[in-house]
């Protein structure tokens, strides 16, 4: 079984600073693998361990200056995947989900696949759309919210944990599956896998090389800004009489109904 685990390289969120004009300063934020995509990679590795004969390719699309970082490439490869395919082009920086999905779709078509795994959303914009869009663009079954996967013969059995039930579905492959953050605990790379990472194959593709044709834009990013901060009102209602409680409710009602 050929499995593609999609992963996005995002800035380390703890090191993102907000500038006075509420735009973001990413200069100190090192690139890292999006946390949710580590779940997709781990799910792929577990399927490989279960079935014994799967090949796992990690696939990432992004700016060449980010994906050119060989430490981040080794980081991905140290997580247990067999190889890494990158679509590196500086025009891919900060793109919206539909664009990302169309690039991944072109790359997946070229690579070939039985199963594509995605995380539940990206660590930076967390739109939770790429997996669904990717399935749509590739014309294959696509499902999200998956909290368990069991590989079958030409199929996968997936579980989705819904509000009051667990839905179990059998999907015919090829398919695109987006996994939840609690499907697994991604393993920590070991000394051995870190040292072996540099010896695993990496293929760097160009947009032309995967036959990418940009779709008509459906949306555009106008700005990225941190939410406006307002000072706390520090309104204290001291007491526990009915009137105090009523005053408390009246105080929070406008916030809740706004």
């Amino acid at each position: 079984m050929n499995i593609i685990a999609c992963c996005k390289i995002v800035p380390e969120d703890q090191d993102i600073a907000v500038k006075p004009d509420r735009t973001l300063d990413l200069s100190k934020a090192e690139p890292k693998i999006s946390q949710y995509d580590l779940n997709a990679i781990e799910a792929a590795i577990q399927i490989k361990e279960q079935s014994g004969n799967a090949n796992v390719v990690a696939l990432s699309a992004g700016a060449a200056k980010t994906l050119g970082n060989s430490k981040i490439r080794k980081d991905i490869l140290s997580r247990g995947v067999d190889s890494l395919t990158l679509v590196a082009d500086d025009s891919l920086e900060g793109r919206l989900p539909a664009d990302t999905a169309s690039v991944l779709a072109a790359a997946a078509r070229k690579t070939g696949f039985d199963l594509i795994l995605c995380g539940e959303g990206s660590g930076d914009i967390y739109a939770q759309q790429v997996g669904i869009l990717l399935g749509e663009m590739l014309g294959v079954a696509s499902i999200n919210g998956v909290s368990r996967i069991t590989a079958g013969d030409g199929t996968v059995l997936v579980e989705r944990t819904l509000e009051d039930e667990i839905e179990t579905l059998e999907l015919a492959l090829p398919a695109v599956v987006s996994v939840t953050a609690d499907i697994n605990t991604p393993r920590i790379p070991s000394l051995k896998t870190i040292l072996a990472a540099g010896k695993k194959p990496t293929v760097t593709e160009t947009l032309d090389g995967i036959g990418y044709q940009a779709p008509a834009p459906v949306a555009a990013m106008t700005s990225v800004k941190a939410p406006e901060q307002s000072d706390r009102k520090k309104k204290i209602i001291d007491g526990d009489s009915d009137a105090d409680i009523k005053a408390f409710i009246e105080s929070i009602r406008p916030e809740l109904t706004a």
Partner: protein, 382 residues
């Protein structure tokens, strides 16, 4: 000259960071308070390869360098110095001796188990009457046919209660002074080793989760094949092992100091007194600047000593200097950190209280600061 960590070293640091944050931080205070050995950490540490630093790949080691080990030890000590001790006792004090001096049969049988965490090892040099003065050994090893019979007792042995592998130093000839010391491998549970026992863990000021006990040897019979190196070579083996171990101690101290500084930076920026964060006061800023500068220096000295070791260059002086400076820095920084956390720093609300207790041990173990000065002076004055 490149002061940057390599990509692999950086990834190893990140790996240990991930491990300690996920697995160790939740238990760090509890194991310290209860003096509980973190048995549940051994298998995951082994799985990550943390017992395989510097060891040949043929036995399951990673062959990775001492700088990477220093980076890992620092990262581990930031969260739990006890874990760094457990790793250090295995990686720097016991397995390297077996790799260099044991027979092929012993290496093939034991080293893979030690790397896999199935057998912990301990370094048994210190005695009640032979601490810094390691040459005053009273433990005896008497040759009887194809065996040696060991009698005596050892003190302050890290990991001893959990260990299966004991590297024991003993006198094969009391008339020859340091040249009469030899090294032996004693395997707990092996025939003849029934007389080996370990005592109750000492009630230490800090690093309670790393157990330190007495080891008693009563008519312990070991095969002559378990002698490590030649008769009389024991003191040299012990000293060269401690040269390596000192780098680990320095790295651990650097990690403790860094953790104390990180906590101090966060706290002094948040703690408001007289209408502004206390970090806005120049007096506080100068203390933080001194703390940060010393840590930087300690780390550079530690990495330099490790790099010298990896290059096969002499590193006795460099290791001793790094150990001396880093451990005194750890004490200096953690003491300042407690001070800057005020009353809370003296409670268990913040880790700085534990870090200060842990830092004190680093100035004592594997050669006190005074011994390091003797080693350094000996190298400088020769």
């Amino acid at each position: 000259m490149d002061f940057q960590l390599s990509e692999e070293q950086t990834l190893i640091r990140n790996m240990v960071h991930e491990f300690v944050e996920q697995h160790v931080r939740p238990m760090a205070d509890e194991i310290d308070r209860n003096h509980r050995f973190p048995e549940e950490s051994i298998a995951p540490m082994a799985e990550l390869g943390l017992f395989g630093f510097n060891l040949p790949e043929q036995y399951g080691g990673s062959g990775i360098d001492s700088v990477a080990y220093a980076v890992a030890s620092e990262e581990m000590a930031k969260v739990s110095a006890s874990h760094a001790m457990i790793m250090g006792s295995q990686c720097t004090l016991t397995t390297p001796i077996l790799v260099k001096y044991a027979s092929d049969e012993i290496k093939e049988r034991i080293i893979p188990k030690m790397i896999a965490g199935e057998a912990l090892g301990c370094f048994c040099l210190t005695e009640p009457g032979a601490g810094c003065d390691a040459a005053s050994q009273r433990t005896s090893a008497v040759r009887q046919g194809d065996s040696y019979v060991l009698n005596g007792s050892k003190m302050w042995i890290t990991n001893a209660p959990q260990s299966k592998i004991f590297i024991v130093f003993a006198m094969t000839d009391f008339n020859k002074g340091v040249k009469g010391i030899s090294a032996f491998l004693v395997e707990r549970g092996a025939p003849g080793a029934e007389g080996l026992s370990t005592g109750h863990p000492e009630e230490k000021m800090g690093m309670g989760a790393s157990h330190t006990t007495e080891v008693v040897l009563k008519n312990v019979v070991v095969p002559a094949a378990n002698r490590l190196g030649a008769e009389g070579q024991g003191f040299k083996i012990a000293m060269e092992t401690l040269d390596g171990g000192r780098g680990g101690g320095a790295a651990m101290a650097t990690g403790l100091a860094q953790a104390a500084l990180d906590s101090t930076v966060a706290y002094t920026k948040e703690r408001v007194q007289f209408g502004r964060p206390i970090a806005a006061n120049q007096g506080v800023q100068w203390m933080i600047a001194d703390m940060a500068t010393r840590i930087e220096c300690a780390r550079l000295m530690t990495h330099r000593a490790a790099a010298a070791k990896d290059s096969g260059l002499p590193c006795t002086k460099e290791s001793a200097m790094a150990k001396l400076y880093a451990t005194e820095t750890a004490m200096y920084v953690t003491e300042k950190a407690v001070q800057l956390h005020g009353g809370l720093g003296y409670t268990r609300a913040f880790a700085v209280e534990r870090l200060m207790r842990e830092a004190k041990l680093t100035e004592i173990f594997e050669g006190t600061s005074e011994i390091q000065r003797i080693v350094i002076a000996g190298q400088v004055l020769r």
